[in-house]
Amino acid sequence: MTGHVFHPGHQELHGVTVVVRGSSGRSWVGRYHERTERGILLHDVAIHDPATAPVDRDTWLARLRKFGVKVDAKHAVIPDGESAQVELLQPPPA
């Protein structure tokens, strides 16, 4: 919802599960905490690395949407230079 702050006093995406697509091809899914000068801090993070993952990114995302986020790391900071695109894991219905 545009303009809706999920948790007052925080950035708009705080507390929302997002997909961060990296310029390296890696992707992260987790609960957005905040964006600082160090990058984007996510909690309870699933990570997809195309070099090692058994399935492609779209298949991985589809599984996460259906079965939930399987946590690979409790926290992750994605540097600004890497976080090419941020979107909701589950876009709102049209």
Partner: protein
């Protein structure tokens, strides 16, 4: 870390006053979710904002619908740890998520709502999702019983 019961009680009551039975022990969960037929809903309650602003109001709205699961249960994540873990074992293919909601028919999960489908969405949208699932999976079971006190 669990929260003080005085703080959590209104969150429990918000769910149970819609006729949802709260399961607070492993034994209660096993009795409720053990082998059986019919439709069963399990709502995983939570102290987080998306439970307060989205999931609980949506559940209350959806449970006013004429078609509902035959059995309505809730566990409280982060509070009743053992009961919640046991309840989740009945839908173990799905990652732990709170709040969340599982709808089972004859012991099989037929619909699941994760936290990431709740975050930031208004209760009316979430309730519509639940009502659609109730209509799809519970209609053949007949009109749900009145809530248990």
């Amino acid at each position: 870390m669990t929260y003080h019961e005085m703080m959590v009680k209104p969150m429990r009551d918000e769910v149970t006053r819609s006729g949802v039975k709260e399961l607070r022990s492993v034994a209660e969960v096993d009795v409720a979710l053990g082998p059986g037929e019919g439709t069963v809903m399990v709502f995983v309650n939570s102290v987080c904002g998306c439970a307060a602003g989205g999931a609980r109001p949506a559940l209350a709205m959806a449970l006013q619908h004429a078609v509902r699961p035959q059995q309505l249960y809730t566990v409280f994540a982060g509070q009743d740890l053992d009961a919640t873990a046991r309840a989740r074992s009945y839908f173990a293919d799905y990652q732990p998520s709170s709040p969340s909601l599982a709808l089972l028919r004859d012991g099989e999960v037929v619909h699941f709502v994760h936290r990431h489908e709740i975050e930031g969405r208004p209760p009316a949208i979430l309730a519509a999702n639940l009502i659609a699932a109730f209509d799809k999976y519970c209609a053949s079971e007949g009109v749900a019983k009145s809530p248990s006190p």
